[in-house]
Amino acid sequence: MTAEFKRLGRRGAYRLGDLRYKAGQEPGGPAFRPRFTRPDRSAATSVWLLGLLAGSVVIIAGTALGLWFMPFAVGLLAGVANGVGRWPPRVAMPAVAATATAGWAIPLGWSVLRGAAYGPVAREIAAQVGLPGYAAVGMIAVVLVAVIQALVGYWLGRALAPRPASR
């Protein structure tokens, strides 16, 4: 059973092995409590979070320089790192997306707070790319560009990274 839990979050986990329902099994057995990190990797979570925070900072710094591809670069690094660190994709991908979101949304929000008239610009962006002309839609579309970059970068990073041998 322990081995089956270890498969959670990894390729083939959906098959669940012995965790699947078995005919005649008594209901009310031990509660199913999935864990998304390996018990022996709990320290890596904080490392990961710090890394993603650094990624956001890097993306934000990139926007200051007009480096529009920085979300991709950060996603790429995250993907490579994850090849080693082995966070499950369903955790890593939202984390990378959040990093990219923060990386572009924070500068946008900061400018708005400082009084920049970004609302009409966002409306114009939304309308020009064929979306409903609302500022929120424009903002979301822009942030989505960063998120897509980061996820594709993550994908490429994972594909590039050497995969450690299974234990």
């Binding site: 990139g62 946008l108 008239a117 009409p120 594709v152 994908w155």
Partner: protein, 914 residues
Amino acid sequence: MTITSRVDRARPFRLALRCGNLAVAVAVSACLLGLLGAGLAGVPALGPALVPGHGAWTSAAGARLPVSQTLDLPGLSRLATARPVQVTYTSQGLAAIAAPTDNDAYLALGYVEASFRLTEMDIERRLAEGKLAQLAGSGAVGSDKFELRLGLLRTARQEWAELPKSGAPARALAAFARGVNDYLAQLHANGRWPAVFSLARVYPASWTPVDSLAIQGGLTQALGFTTTPLVYELLERSLGAQQTTDWFGVLPPGQQAPYDPGPYANRGLAPEQGLVTVDAVGRAPVAGPQVAGPQVAGPQLAGPQLAGPPVAGAAGVVTASIQTTASDQPQPGSAAGLAQASTAILSAVAALPAGQVYTAPASNAWAANGPRVAGGGAMLAGDPHLTQTLPSVWYQVALAAPGLSVSGVTIPGLPAVLIGHNAHIAWSLTDVQSQSAFFYAEQTSKSRPGEYFWDGHWRRMQVLHYSIPVRGGATRRLTVDATVHGPVMTQDGQTVSVDWIGALGSPDLADMQAVEEATDYAQFRAALATWRSPALNFVYADDRGNIGAIAAGYYPQVRHGQPWLPMGGTGADDVAGVIPYQAVPQVYDPPSHVIASANQRPVGDSYPYYLGTTADFFDPGYRAEAEYGFLQAHRSMTQADFAALQTNVTDPLAAEIVPKLLAALQTTGRATPLTALQQQAERNLASWDDQMTASSTGASVWWTFWTDYLSAVFQPWWRAAKVPVHLDRGGLSVGPDQFSLDADLTTWTLSDQQDAAFSPPGDPPRDAATVMRAAFNTAVAHLAATLPGGPSSWAWGKLHTRQFPSLTGTAALGYGPRAAGGDFWTVDAAEGAVHAEIGPSFRMIVSWSGSGTPVAQSIYPGGQSENPGSPWYSNLVADWWAGKYLPMPQAPAADSGAAAVSASPGTIRWELRP
């Protein structure tokens, strides 16, 4: 099979899977980065355009209001070192420029307009020059092809080439361009481009005088280029010549209120002068052809026919001509071919952006003097009706320099105040709506490709080649053939060329400069003597209590033929000349003390020249009648009275027709009683005051009735004749915007209720009352189906809206739609059926109570800035909507220095130095 062997077998598969995954990831990454970094086809490079703080976001900087500052502008004169150019902005954004020289004033104007309207200016010049697809992508190729074919750019280039560079107009154009380029240089340095450019990654080229002249051509096109002869051709082919003549006559069927009532004199013709832009053959001036006097071409077509002697061999013919032989006689085009050609041209025009060609814009301008004005002076009001967009077609400014002191509105890109006033005179404009485009069916032969037959000889067409850059696509090529008449618009079925006034060029800028400096009517009238296009009614008032109006422009007269139809291209029907300036419609200090121009036919039926027909040319005259009615009913009018008239939404047609409708309902109600719903609707009408206010329920019933009445009368004829409405919905369909039909039906309803038109072919005879009752029933059913609640809740504003769309086509950046009053025929016009986008684009009232500074106020729906984030983007809309006005800005005397600049709260000041 052991587990180990299964794992060994799976390893190559996993390896292949990983390699495949890697390959796809690399490919997707490359595509994504390529797409974001460089764009693809019509998709711009979104990466650099969208990264926060850069790209499109930098345009937010332009949303901030300007601050008082000193700016260095290269190109200003040395005089501006000691006396800097002063630019002041009121808190509403209205600008005033005071400069030590005229050139400095125009340079500052270029800088200021570019600061607030660069996108608009660039789009307008691209539109006119056939370069829109470079910015907007492949969707604009059709527009570019049309414009390059028509030749605004050819005309602009040649106008500039022929303009004396030492003259005031050329110097103004050059100074203006310098000012625009000063601003462009700043943008190149700071990267704060308007969002449209950042998103498209296409940036404006340097401004040139040709660009300003092309924009002038664009205005001429918007006010004067029509395809009406092609519409007539299709109407004749479907309805027949007689019915077309009867229903779309040259002269209006009803009473008109011309501002020039005559008497008229036939003064022969003046030579048509202008540029030769497409063909070395050209149309050389024809010296004094004789006018043979009016010839009635049909029972209703009382328009004059000019039968001057054929002119052999116009001077200046240099194109190779080849004597025709028996074997290659020209082949006259077939009627079917002409219809096919008409269809092709109409389809091309229908695909153009709204407002690019003439779509019956209307305007008001009136003046009163003497006892009709409080204080006995003169007073003028004007409100040009154009497409209402954000930003507006106008930029409001006051200019002052030695010899120049004017306040009014400019077209961004053109260094001239088109409507406004100086210290002594004021003027406003309305479109004459005369026929400015004449179509010719050229005679060609299959055995002579590239040639056409004209004036007894075969001639080679001039061939022009153009490239059309397309954003995200391959550059397109365009070949334009041209004959002596002008560019060939199509060879689909029939070679058809167009001879239109815009191709001649027009010294508008020089004329407007002279108008701006005029101090009395004689100077004003002299200034407009060389004006060719667009033909405009200039309505005038001055500080000496005089008023006047003159329809400046060219009115071509053909030697023979029916100019409202496509004519033969062999030369017999060519333009023989134009109406001499002394004979164009005009009036000065009329005994009635009032003048009103509302696009009505400006002259009476006995005018001895051809101006145009009722179809798509002249307004049916309802607004003019309303204006004359108001002005002649009042004495000692004030600006408040004029303002009340400008915002008046009384429908004069309803005032005439509704009593007839109520009578018809009474008559027919005896045989077929009205239902309860119909009775309620009838009561709405009976108690209605003809006001097309947004809250009026009678207005809804009236408008829906009139639409259904037109349909009930004409639609059976249209169906029977198979009028090809789909080819040109605006020109061929039955509706209230078909002014000829409105006028016909009005006349029949008022004075000929048994007219044969009420009885369509194959149906039992009907009279007006019967048809009105049927149309009323239909209207009530329409309203019941469209609007919830009963007739008491059928407010006009629920059907009728007004909106100001964004010039960029971005719906979210427009204003409205919002429930609104008015209709086609109210003085406060709302044109464009029930969703109006055309109307008063500027309202101005100027008065004098004696010599001295005029009292001037104005408003336009929009704002001075094109930046959607700017507080000046749409800040004037609310006042316009409420019928309020703002004082027009006044620039200080050029030598009075900064101290004289108005220091009202909120005033922002720039000092411009070289």
